[in-house]
């Protein structure tokens, strides 16, 4: 088990799962089946792979605004990744987890991790500890 410490945590939590490094960006609408967790974008290198419960490293989200609604639906159905790691802030991914917490009291971890920190770890079991650098609601 390899532990990863993010440089920024957009939506906090603790997660463990197999690391899947996506070599290409993904639009969850048209790219992800919320009912099965399968990548369905037939032009995507991960086409056919199930990402439910994994720790997914994505370069960024492609395309559709509906990505957020698909990810929220995947949380409802228990078919979302356990965590999504990004090289920079991505509002589509973060928003899905924030609204999932509002509606269902659960979501997935969203964190910023530099790509080089993941080099050579594709397919390994990854643990993301609850981090102290969490971005949360500001206090006045």
């Amino acid at each position: 088990m390899t532990s990863i410490t993010p440089t920024d945590v957009l939506v906090a939590g603790e997660a463990t799962g197999t690391l899947v490094i996506s070599p290409a960006p993904l639009s969850f609408w048209g790219g992800y089946d919320a009912a099965t967790g399968e990548v369905i974008d037939r032009r995507h290198p991960l086409s056919g792979q199930c990402l439910a419960g994994c720790v997914l490293a994505l370069p960024w989200t492609r395309g559709s605004s509906t990505t957020t609604a698909i990810l929220l639906e995947a949380v409802r159905l228990g078919m979302a990744p356990a965590a999504i790691l990004l090289p920079k802030v991505d509002t589509f991914i973060a928003l899905a987890s924030i609204v999932a917490h509002e509606l269902y009291g659960r979501g997935f971890v969203v964190a910023v991790v530099p790509a080089d920190a993941l080099a050579g770890l594709d397919g390994r079991q990854i643990h993301i500890p609850v981090s102290s650098v969490t971005v949360t609601q500001d206090d006045d």
Binding site: L10, P25, S27, W29, G30, G31, A34, I40, D41, R42, R43, H44, W60, T61, R62, G63, S64, S65, T66, T67, T68, A69, I70, L72, E73, V75, R76, L77, V89, T91, F92, A94, L95, A96, I98, V99, A100, E102, L103, V135, T136, Q137, D138, D139, D140
Partner: protein
């Protein structure tokens, strides 16, 4: 940065629930997103376009009904994107009643919040068209890129669920495409020996858009070398395809779009991060990517993503006049209620009906499960349809121009005129 600096007195009152429970929930989401993107402040928007209206499952419906149940009302004029069902015509297709019922409940929820019932992914071709410099909060990737690039209105790339929170609060984080600096170009794309006769054709723009999305990813591309002035519908198809194959939310066309009189203006004097040359070889390759199988019989000819405009109906009418599609082929145009009304009032639907064409409004085949299983191969002139059909509908797709689409519908097999693209 503390919330005290970022949020105004009114924002904080909203967050504390002093304006009611729905603004409190919406502001809690807006302010958390503002913290995530490190926004220095929130700013007012004066229009919203709500993509959250698309039904994709119970979660989005529960969110909409939660907000509506809390008495949420939009505080700025808000147009609605497509829904998950053609409200009055879904029974003409094999749409499951359970789906139609839930998608309709989602329509009712957004209607109750005070949104305008535009039900279209091309709001910029309706009364909801914004103006240059206007700060807006838009969802729907093709609408975002059109508003920013062609009109010079200012919106970030907003996802579903956020757009309605912006409309309820009237506030968004002051970052990215809302700011002068955030609108400057990143990469330069130079068209090299692309003939003007090809640039004048509609079928050129989805192909260029596909390439633009692939080259730009989520950066702002600046294109030089266009020698013709594209129409609104051509720019619509360019942006829609670029926002499908990539995450393009703003492009600049030098000498054409409003923030790019020159290359220097488009980049704000900065040096491009990268430059790419695009010639006929690259364009031919991109065009091939929009087709998955050109050899099967055509089952459906599909027009209208983004939604068909009045000009497009005007272009279509004489091409189908006096002709009849093959019985083995469905011919479907997706559009909005208002365009259907305008086209009907202008007498432009008679020829289409006589041809055997059908219309779907409020939604599109990507957003409502309406196609029978017998439809396996779809031909379209839309780059956005061509991009999404294989993954979302698990069907084969053929990309062709409007003449090709009509000719193929008449003959029941793929007919394509490749001559504009030169030797393969």
């Amino acid at each position: 940065m503390s919330g005290g600096e970022r949020l105004s007195v009114r924002d904080r009152a909203m967050l504390a629930g002093e304006l009611g429970p729905a603004p409190a929930l919406a502001m809690s989401i807006v302010s958390r997103m503002a913290a995530i993107v490190r926004a220095p402040r929130l700013i007012d928007v004066s229009h919203a376009h709500i993509d959250s209206s698309i039904y994709v499952g119970d979660a989005g419906l529960e969110f909409a009904e939660r907000l509506a149940g809390l008495g949420a009302r939009v505080v700025v004029p808000s147009s609605l994107n497509v829904s998950g069902v053609d409200e009055h015509h879904w029974q003409e297709w094999p749409v499951a009643p359970e789906w139609a019922g839930k998608a309709h409940r989602q329509m009712v929820a957004y209607r109750a919040m005070g949104c305008s019932e535009t039900w279209t992914c091309a709001p910029y071709q309706t009364q909801a068209r914004p103006v240059f410099g206007q700060q807006i909060a838009w969802g729907e990737s093709n609408a975002i890129v059109f508003a920013n690039s062609v009109i010079g209105a200012r919106t970030e790339r907003y996802p579903d669920l956020f757009d309605i929170c912006a409309a309820i609060t009237g506030r968004v984080p002051d970052v990215g495409l809302h700011t002068d600096e955030g609108r400057l170009g990143h990469i330069l794309i130079t068209l090299d020996q692309v003939p003007a006769h090809l640039q004048a054709r509609d079928e050129f723009y989805p192909v260029l858009g596909f390439l633009l999305g692939r080259l730009a990813d989520d950066r702002i591309p600046v294109v030089e070398g266009l020698t013709v002035r594209p129409t609104d519908d051509q720019l619509k198809s360019l942006g829609a395809t670029a926002a499908s194959s990539g995450s393009v939310a703003l492009f600049h066309l030098v000498g054409i779009t409003p923030e790019a009189a020159t290359v220097a203006e488009a980049f704000g004097g900065r040096t491009p991060e990268a430059t790419h040359r695009v010639g006929m070889a690259e364009l031919r390759d991109a065009r091939r990517h929009l087709t998955t199988n050109a050899d099967a019989p055509v089952d459906l000819v599909l027009l209208g993503s983004p939604h068909f405009s009045l000009d497009e109906f005007r272009q279509l009418a004489p091409l189908v006049r006096g002709r009849r599609k093959a019985d083995s082929v469905e011919f479907l145009v997706t559009t909005s209620r208002i365009m259907r009304t305008l086209a009907a009032d202008s007498g432009m639907l008679r020829d289409l009906e006589a041809f055997g064409g059908r219309l779907t409004v409020d939604t599109c085949v990507l957003a409502t499960p309406m196609l029978p299983a017998s439809i396996q191969t779809i031909m379209t002139n839309s780059g956005k349809y061509a991009y999404y059909v294989p993954g979302l509908l698990n069907r084969q797709v053929v990309y062709g121009n409007l003449d090709d689409c009509i000719e193929s519908a008449v003959r029941g097999r793929v007919v394509r005129d490749d001559s504009a693209w030169g030797a393969a």
